[in-house]
């Protein structure tokens, strides 16, 4: 196995991991503020993709712009749809259950996840009358990949990595430097004492949902660009992987989510890529990629249940 092949796997893994990390931040922020695993977050990601596609397909003229000029508009559309859906879900589905037993909002989240998938599958329409029951085409960068000493870097890969880096820098700045960000950290560390400081917990919860949704929308845009299509059920596997990444990094820890995403992406690409490379093990390669990702999750849960950067053992289910 040549070094170039190995480096190509690393490149794929980093890009995939950056995308997982962007989604994972949403799980970890919501968990950090209200200890809820928002299993509908994968669908928020999916809606972000459809929001971006809607701008591209339905707003006259956008499809004729150069893709780089259309991207900011699509991103805006995706973020608006994802944030509206996440904030709406919090207000209508989760907030009424704030005092209910832990299981109730969890099951609500699963129900919401299925409902959102079906809504898009049944009712989404493209300008030509096409629907979203099957995957729908998403614009992608044409052009040749960059060749770095034999390692191919697709344009969408570059976009993904840059987008993830910008988002994480902005998030780090928000959490550490702004008043709202510090208030959010305070709420996560000690909700009652945060209230004594004058911090409205409901507002912080909305902020956590909104920020997570915005990053998920960015992730959806990168996924659409990379694969050239999006689908109503794309949130299921991506959401599960991102959830894995969040747990891997230490749920509740924002930097951990990004690290967990990258570790997961690398592990998935390297294990399946290396196995696929040798004839004896080839059958356990690409087809088993998801298996290796979840094996990693199981190992981490067994050996380091608090996650890579987790500071406390999960004492609350």
């Amino acid at each position: 196995m040549s070094v170039t092949v190995l480096l190509q796997l690393v490149e794929n893994g980093l890009v995939l991991g950056a995308m997982y990390g962007l989604i994972a931040v949403g799980y970890t922020m919501v968990y950090g503020t209200i200890q809820l695993i928002n299993f509908a977050h994968g669908e928020i990601f999916m809606l972000g993709g459809f929001g971006a596609l809607t701008v591209y397909a339905w707003i006259p003229g956008v499809a004729h712009l150069p893709l780089l000029a259309a991207l900011p508009l699509m991103l805006l559309g995706g973020v608006v749809v994802a944030v509206a859906a996440a904030v709406g879900a919090e207000r209508l589905a989760y907030r009424p259950l704030r005092a209910a037993p832990r299981l109730a909002p969890l099951i609500t989240a699963i129900g919401l996840s299925l409902a959102l998938q079906q809504v898009v599958s049944l009712w989404y329409r493209l300008p030509g009358g096409g629907n979203a029951k099957a995957p729908v085409a998403f614009p992608s960068f044409g052009g040749k990949a960059f060749n770095l000493g034999g390692v191919l870097v697709q344009r969408a890969d570059l976009f993904t990595v840059i987008a993830a880096a910008v988002c994480m820098a902005a998030l780090a700045w928000f959490v550490a430097r702004t008043r709202s960000g510090r208030a959010m950290q305070a709420t996560a560390q000690d909700p009652d004492t945060a209230r004594l400081m004058g911090i409205d917990p409901d507002r912080m919860i909305v902020v956590a949902f909104a920020v997570g949704a915005a990053l998920a929308a960015v992730a959806a845009l990168t996924q659409g660009l990379r694969y050239g299509q999006i689908s109503f059920d794309m949130g299921f596997v991506a959401g599960l992987k991102a959830f894995t990444a969040a747990v891997l990094g230490g749920i509740g820890n924002v930097r951990g989510a990004m690290l967990g995403g990258i570790v997961l992406g690398l592990a998935e690409e390297l294990s399946s890529g290396i196995l696929a490379h040798f004839r004896d093990t080839a059958q356990y390669g690409q087809a088993w990629a998801d298996v290796w990702a979840f094996v990693l999750l199981i190992l981490v849960l067994l050996l380091r249940p608090q996650g890579l950067l987790g500071e406390r053992v999960a004492d609350r289910a």
Binding site: R179, A183, Q189, R195, L196, I199, D200
Partner: protein, 237 residues
Amino acid sequence: MTALLSVEALHVAYGRVEAVKGISMRVLPGQTVALLGANGAGKTTTLRTLSGLLRPTAGTIRFAGQSLERVPAHHIVRAGLAHCPEARRIFPRMTIEENLRLGAFIRGNEDLGPDLRQAYERFPILGERHDQMAGLLSGGEQQMLAIARALMCRPRLLMLDEPSMGLSPIMMQQILRTVAELKDAGTTILLVEQNAQAALALADYAYVLETGRIVVEGTGAELLADERVREAYLGEG
């Protein structure tokens, strides 16, 4: 003089268990009022109800002319009632200065420079270590931080819940001296303290709670002389 805080027939329950069974009390501006009693008497429950973390089942709370029974906690601190909670509850994974800035959260984007300087003058150790994680401080230093944090919102009434709990004798003396200095500077204080001797020496007025009811009240000097109080709380008799 009109009371800054007046509580009438306050009842608080956890589910069906009533922890506070109809207490009435007043705090006048500038006064230091102590709330004494054994563990489980309802002192902390009372403070948590006053600051809005718990809801009363009955009774009224009036603070600076405003009814607080239905006001959420994050608005009560805006009315000028600061609560320095039991067990300090500093934010461990934030720096000392970040903790202090959170104490002034309600003041928005005001310049906090003078207040920070004042906090560091009062507690020099906090100034020396202002960019360290608060979780690394000793118990006594965390208590200093908790008090300094509560003062950052410039409260009209400062509620201190067992500030000397779990501290070494020397540290306890220092914290109690700080409370005395705040009192001398004119701060209105509602103090819950298990060190009854020290609390009564500081207090203008005091209430003794037993299983959710006030059993004795009076000025600090009166209670220090009271037989029952001496027996039950000052380890005499």
